[in-house]
Symmetry: D2
Subunit: 336 residues, 4 copies
């Protein structure tokens, strides 16, 4: 029997996780919530996801909008083995009480703190930590991106120290988040939270980060420098990443020069919603000087965490013991 | 036997037309050309489109890039019934000689002039003009957009006069075209070429246009005013368009407030490459004052002409006599 | 003795009006308010404007910020003949009570409704309406822009009907207002409020408007069509505007092709803050077809209303009877 | 008698250097060149700069444009002691021959290579190198920015190693340079040229750089990490920079959170053209962890090199021996 999964918050992340779960053979979506009868509510129905109002006070709204719902979050929780919380960041703590009371396992996104669940998940780096757990947090898109490329480096060469500058997109393509239209804005509080967040997955890593926001919508881009313990050549590093799951090497020489062209590649690959779930690393933007490795990577903030959520469900529900097996299974099902 | 179609120029438009042709049961792609071994050349191969170099001098380039081609354009032309020219605007005239000599029927895009073929095509408005023709031009994305909503208005209510302001996107998502990053730029030469271009399809229409370019990549947006001959109510107009092929009504009330959200809807609909091939008209942005109809519509410049190219092939190859039948067949095949 | 002017809200508009008032010989700033000890509070002090806290609860904030204030709004109101309200739109009604009780004349900006004062002011079109008035509203940047070019057209040729599409900037250069970073967004409620707002100044004008927001910060741009009562040639229209105050003809042929280049011209002209207080009309973007005049104009939303506020003070305080004399005096003092 | 200065190329940098030179009491502009009779040619005349055509073939163009010129570059070169080359990058080598033959000293901008003159100039770091020189290069905006903050750090604390990520603006406000409208683009060739360029001024510095381009127009922003030889506290570093010429500390707490707000501050300061000639460093974005200093700085690409050009003239013409005296004199004259 398939594991029953609910999504609380069918938005940018939620609708993608729902899609990915429904592509697996060992789990299925039994319901998703929405606060308003928007076009995304219609998307849920079109995709065959039973729709629930997030709160009882939203029911009228749906009725007026002519969209029939199956009940409210509380009703959905009775049917799920796991609820994936995809609500806006910072509301998870309040929600956790509700999920716990309903006896549902729960998964949170990177907008919540590590402490709430004590488990910050990445399928490649620490799958086992979520084994059988009742709750866990899938780390943010940026943290996921850093872990995907740094973890194999650490395994293969050892890392003394990492410094990364994060050039962030200002808002998602369909969002209006209040980013400046024509300015670059630094995250003044240093070190930014990104470094410590990576350490919730890769304990003991020496990492510092700085970050700026720019008026683009497509992807984050990281400038990463890693001081390695053992000297590595550029081909060695590229070899390593070419066999790392959910890392994709791209090349300026092939015409992939910026984040817009990575998204174009994702469309050409026929990906659902034009998503690039892998971390894209520029082959011709990798350089080793002495013991220091320099590289650029791009992160599709809307989708890189999606397969991680699937793997996290699998670990928490003890569906598959081996992380690489789970990763391979997920990837196959979503077309990576 | 299927009609054999070649694409000269497998770029933004070319790769989409190739995809759409291959979804039809009465035509197929027998080859596409590319000038460089870029990631889009790999896309062609992945999609099963035999690849040709545009010119013999490009052959070395492909060999160095490790991408095998089947020959050059001349070789491809020997195999096709119709070649669809998707090269950059303004090179069509030179190409037409080559196609004519090879005895291939040819279709051009909106970047070429009307005079070259004497036939400016829109499937809804003048399908019959291309019947059996040896060459034709599918009009530009903006002209296609205007014709799709104006033609049914003209049929149903009559039109005295149209004025449209075109707010254009500056470049396609993966392009760098030299648009200003933070400025609005008017097309100073008035009337802009858009009005006369609509008249190549809808002869005799009284239409004037102005246009500006803005620093966005997703869609063009038109502010249209049409003085109607017969008074029409807003519901009558919406009824008309809701039964017009390749026009899609959207609504700000459902959360579709801007062009970013229309593209999000296209992704949610599972469209290939996230394309919105229909013209999107805002239901809650339609207003009639006296005899004048005001409306906003958005045009996905990368894809709205794609199904038109398919229908144009069908008309030129005399595959289907009835334009609505061709439109319906094309739409079904590409998932509209 | 100079007229004593206070500014409530020393922000984008307020700081410019303060600067302009202090350049006149018949009025002076006696104080400005601010809610926080930001860099703009320091600007006020640097420019010699006595600083007041907007509310008593802000006083602590200023003290902690190390910026000394002269008191609060109530204290300022005791010293002024006229208060210019430059607070965020929609708060004027509440403020008017305060100003009225303090016995101060008051001027509002375009974010407030016409009804509150019954007088919507433009120096060229209806200076006399504010003569001796106790309160008035200077119309918004867009309305000011439309009136500046339409009013002389109406006087010279008569106008049957106007239609304008407003392509709006998304936010001011130093603002984060929540505009989409990469989308065009229409104002769905039609007709937009801009047409009726023009009629608060030019009663009886037949005008309709549509509007979109774009991700730029510099200027609004209008596509205007005016059906004239009497045929006018392009040179006649350009002659008319070249002698109209606060209208500046620019030319694509001179390299002024977009709003970015208009702002560059303003910097080259040595304008304070790089402001373009005139409405810029493209000479080579003017066209007459039959009785219809088509033109593009650009509006610097941060500054075009600034000289209007000065003239409005002059009318309300009966400092100068003739509107053209006031306009000329203001222009000379601010360097137009 | 004042030193006679010519400007070859009265564009973004040229017009600013001309303005700054004319504010000094020991030098003056005797002519500037332009290739076309654009609005910037009119600016030159308005600012009292005698105008010359860049080449004889441009003379007709000016005549048709109704703008009178004094001759061509060759004529100008006869009148100057120093010519400042502000032509587009990469044309300097060809120009140098012309200047040399005319016996004029010459100054180049950062778009030219170091080798051409052998002297890469920054007024604070190596003023003496240009003493009496016949030619020199003022380094680029980004290099100037890095040197201004790194040189004092090196003097005060010693530097082991620097790493900087440069987040570059895509084009100047009035330019259309072909940057992507909605993408982030890395400089794939690593290390980027910026590090080596800093070493043309600060020989022996261990510095590496990465760079990306973003769709903004206002300023570059640097994320800098510097490993210091001697531990420095944050207040020590801020103290150092607060007494460093042409470095300006700004603060997010005062409302200066992004590059748009820095430019707003420059406007509020009454700077010509709204320029911020100083490097802006965020006080609340400075952090020391161990021996590593992290900081953000913003660079106004249009103007930071302007006072450097003035100082370079002074050094080459032996007008002032002491670099700090020259810097102070220049700053006073341009209002810093």
């Amino acid at each position: 029997m398939k594991v029953k999964v609910g999504i609380n918050g069918y938005g940018t992340i939620g609708k993608r996780v729902a899609w990915a779960v429904n592509r697996q053979d060992d789990m299925e979506i039994v319901g998703v919530t929405k606060t308003r009868p928007s076009y995304e509510a219609s998307t849920a129905l079109r995709e065959g996801c039973p729709l629930y109002a997030a709160r009882s006070e939203d029911l009228d709204n749906f009725e007026r909008g002519g969209i029939k719902v199956q009940g409210i979050l509380d009703d959905l929780l009775k049917k799920v083995d796991v609820i994936v919380d995809c609500t806006p960041g910072g509301t998870g703590a309040k929600n956790k009480d509700i999920y716990d009371k309903a006896g549902a396992k729960s998964i949170y996104q990177g907008g919540e703190g590590h402490e709430m669940t004590g488990i910050s998940f990445n399928a490649l780096a620490n799958y086992h930590e979520a084994w059988g757990a009742s709750s866990a947090r899938v780390v943010s898109c940026n943290t996921t991106g850093l872990v995907r490329t740094l973890f194999p480096l650490q395994q293969a060469f050892g890392i003394n120290k990492v410094f990364a500058s994060l050039i962030r997109r200002g808002a998602d393509p369909a969002d209006k988040k209040g980013a400046a239209l024509n300015a670059i804005e630094p995250s003044l509080k240093l070190p930014t939270h990104h470094g410590p967040d990576v350490k919730t997955v890769m304990q003991g890593l020496d990492i510092q980060t700085m970050a700026v926001v720019t008026p683009t919508t497509l992807m984050h881009l990281h400038c990463v420098t890693a001081d390695l313990k053992r000297t590595a050549s550029e081909p060695e590093v590229l070899d390593l990443w070419s066999s790392t799951p959910r890392v994709r090497l791209v090349s300026g020489k092939d015409g992939i020069k910026n984040t817009g062209q990575i998204m174009e590649l994702a469309k050409d690959l026929g990906r659902p919603r034009g998503d690039m779930m892998e971390i894209a690393v520029w082959k011709d933007g990798v350089k080793v000087v002495g013991n220091t490795l320099y590289y650029y990577q791009a992160i599709h903030q809307e989708s890189d965490v999606v397969p991680e959520n699937v793997d996290c469900i699998r670990a928490m529900m003890k569906l598959e013991k081996d992380n690489l097996a789970s990763i391979a299974k997920t990837n196959r099902a979503v077309g990576l």
